[in-house]
């Protein structure tokens, strides 16, 4: 340090400093500036990002911040990936209607094309899971029984045996999985929306996700059979007990009243 300090008044010192400063600036620029290729790109991808950004500014920025950095009203979207956007907006959860314990599913207000643009923009903010392709989530040929076992091990704690949904703490809930699009089930497992833990491919490979989707399709869709008759919500003994009291015992008491009202008449003699 002493050596350097002694030469700080050398006539060439200013030149050296200038050179160093220029090198640092140039180097940092080279390291951090967006690639020149991306800047010059006028492809569909960049158009989608631009369009997505416009949609984002209107529909999402008030909570998630103008650059997706997040605010006190909404989490950061950097690194959530396109799959998260496709799930949240595709199931109508986003944009949220009101703050609350949990954002419920509702009618989707964006078209799939707009959702793709939004997803492209959010994906451009940072790397994250991309939207799965049909070959990834298509359950055809998957093992339903294995899926059932996986579902009961990993999902039933919150979503009930056949995905009818269940309560979580303080008004939060695990929603019903009846007739949910296979793509959205896949994305939910991949990204872990709201209170759900995520199941990335490292913990639950694609094959297992397909098994689970196949199981849900078999037991909880409009095509699944209920061999015993009315499912009574698939909620177990509470709804069964209610049904038994009202329609079982209720009908029997009505019958008893009817029988008692038709009594033998005493002979008049």
């Amino acid at each position: 340090m002493k050596k350097l300090s002694a030469r700080r008044r050398h006539p060439l010192a200013a030149v050296v400093v200038l050179l160093l400063a220029l090198a640092a600036t140039g180097g940092l620029y080279a390291a951090f500036a967006p690639a020149g290729k991306a800047q010059a790109d006028e492809t569909a991808q960049s158009l989608a990002i631009d369009e997505g950004k416009k949609l984002y500014s209107v529909g999402c920025a008030s909570c998630h911040g103008t650059g997706g950095q997040g605010t006190s009203d909404g989490p950061s979207l950097v690194g959530v990936g396109a799959a998260a956007v496709d799930f949240q907006v595709g199931t109508g959860r986003m944009p949220a209607q009101q703050p609350g314990a949990q954002v419920p599913k509702k009618k989707a207000i964006y078209s799939q094309a707009q959702i793709d643009q939004l997803a492209a923009y959010v994906a451009s903010l940072g790397a994250g899971p991309s939207v799965p392709t049909d070959s990834q989530y298509n359950p055809s040929g998957a093992d339903i029984a294995k899926g059932g076992e996986l579902f009961r091990t990993n999902c039933a704690q919150c979503h009930n045996f056949t995905g009818e949904g269940g309560a979580l703490t303080n008004g939060k809930f695990a929603p019903s999985l009846e007739d949910v699009d296979p793509k959205h089930i896949y994305e939910a497992m991949q990204t872990g929306p709201q209170n759900m833990p995520s199941f990335p491919d490292t913990t639950m490979p694609q094959k297992q996700k397909q098994d689970i989707i196949a199981y849900l399709h078999a037991v909880n869709s409009d095509k699944s059979a209920s061999p015993g008759g009315l499912k009574l919500g698939g909620l177990g003994p509470v709804s069964e007990g209610l049904f038994g009291w009202i329609f079982g015992l209720g009908a029997l008491i009505a019958v008893a009243i009817w029988v008692a009202a038709h009594t033998a008449k005493a002979k008049k003699s």
Partner: protein
Amino acid sequence: MSTTTDARREAPAGERIADWADGRLGIYSLAKANMRKIFPDHWSFMLGEICMYSFIIIILTGVYLTLFFHPSMNEVVYDGSYVPLQGMHMSEAFNSTMHISFDVRGGLLIRQIHHWAALIFLAGMFVHMMRVFFTGAFRKPREVNWLFGFLLFVLGMFTGFTGYSLPDDLLSGTGVRFMEGAIMSVPIVGTYLSFFLFGGEFPGGDFVARFYSVHILLLPGIMLGLMVAHLILVFYHKHTQFAGPGRTNKNVVGMPLLPVYMAKAGGFFFLVFGVIAVVAAIASINPIWAIGPYRPDQVSTGAQPDWYMGFSEGLIRVMPGWEINLWGHTLVLGVFIPLVIFPLVLATIAVYPFIESWITGDKREHHIADRPRNAPTRTAFGVAWITWYMVLLIGGGNDLWATHFHLSINVITWFVRIAFFVAPVLAFVATKRICLGLQRRDAAKVLHGRESGIIKRLPHGEFVEIHEPLDANARYKLTAHEQYKPAEIGPTVDENGVARKISRTQKLRAKLSKGYFGEGNQIPKPTAEEYEEITSGHGHH
């Protein structure tokens, strides 16, 4: 010469068979004593019949199920016709239940009849018990029969629980695990009891076989015996009847057992069977194929027991998770306290008849059923107990209340914690007020007649509503009940002016008696003099 032998030969076959049987079994005297036995008629007297018939249906369908059920926990691989479980490892118990449901002809229907009939049996016993309670039909001489009925209800709960556990599915296995946890929470002996019951660590390989013999032999055997004893006592005591002209404590007004009640009861059995079969044919119950086989590492949300055990689920769900750690041992109060309260909830209603008879000090027999309003404190107590029970049922289903009414499960839990103490008190006060109000209305109806809704304008312009007098039958029904006087302690000093010794229980009894029958706790029923005075035409009312 042949006339006598001919007459004998011509005796109808039925008579000859009856003669044969009478010589060996004495059926004529039995029939003579009982065939004309009179039973009163009221729909609520048929609630017990619903229970008996559903019990018979359970036994019949249960026998069919035992033909195919294998009470074994040996591991097998499923290869039956239900695709989403094919290739799964499961116990033989689960496998055979799947076999009954999908591959035995009529198996699923019989299974569903069996289970629905069990729910209805328990519900029927609950309602039957409440009918007996609210009409005071538990009073002397029927206290023992009340206890028999109560025991049938409790044994029914446990028979139901053991049966529900047999298929070894994920839902019932969770229930058995719950029970194991409750047993383990008992200080000192808990772990020993649990190991004894399960033959080692939970779940072990024994409990299905053990529950099976308890479910199909031990408990139903005791219940069948109790039910017969219950019926014999009903015969012996004769049935209670509601008050009415010509009905006294010493007679029974109604129809004879044969032919009227035999026909009615026989027909009613088939109606009960029919209703339960229809329910079982249209609604699924305990769909074990959707629930999956039990594995201790799996659990589902919304795991509840059948409704009759729901209040114990409620107790444990709302209990704060307290525990005490001392000398390396943990006392899990969060589970142990609910386990202690569980029998107390049931015992509260079971001992009530004895408390009431102690308070009234009434040693007479009672065969006339009370109208609930005429025993306001008893009715209020019963409603308070039902409220208590229902609050716990809400606690047992707190997650479904949360999801279906968009509430926070924490709020529901706190509501149940507070309502557990407060709701019975509110229900007691409100019911008592309502009963007293109804008593006042009855008194007014007797004295002033029924409001006809016809408004008459008098010549001087006054409007009055015409009251139609009740007929004598109706007046009798409304005034037939007797009203107790509150028990007096008597003078506090004896004839010498020395303070008399009055025990605490005597004082308590006097206080309770005042609460039952004192001023403001029952409305004095109209007397004949009052009625005479009002109807004699003096003065306008």
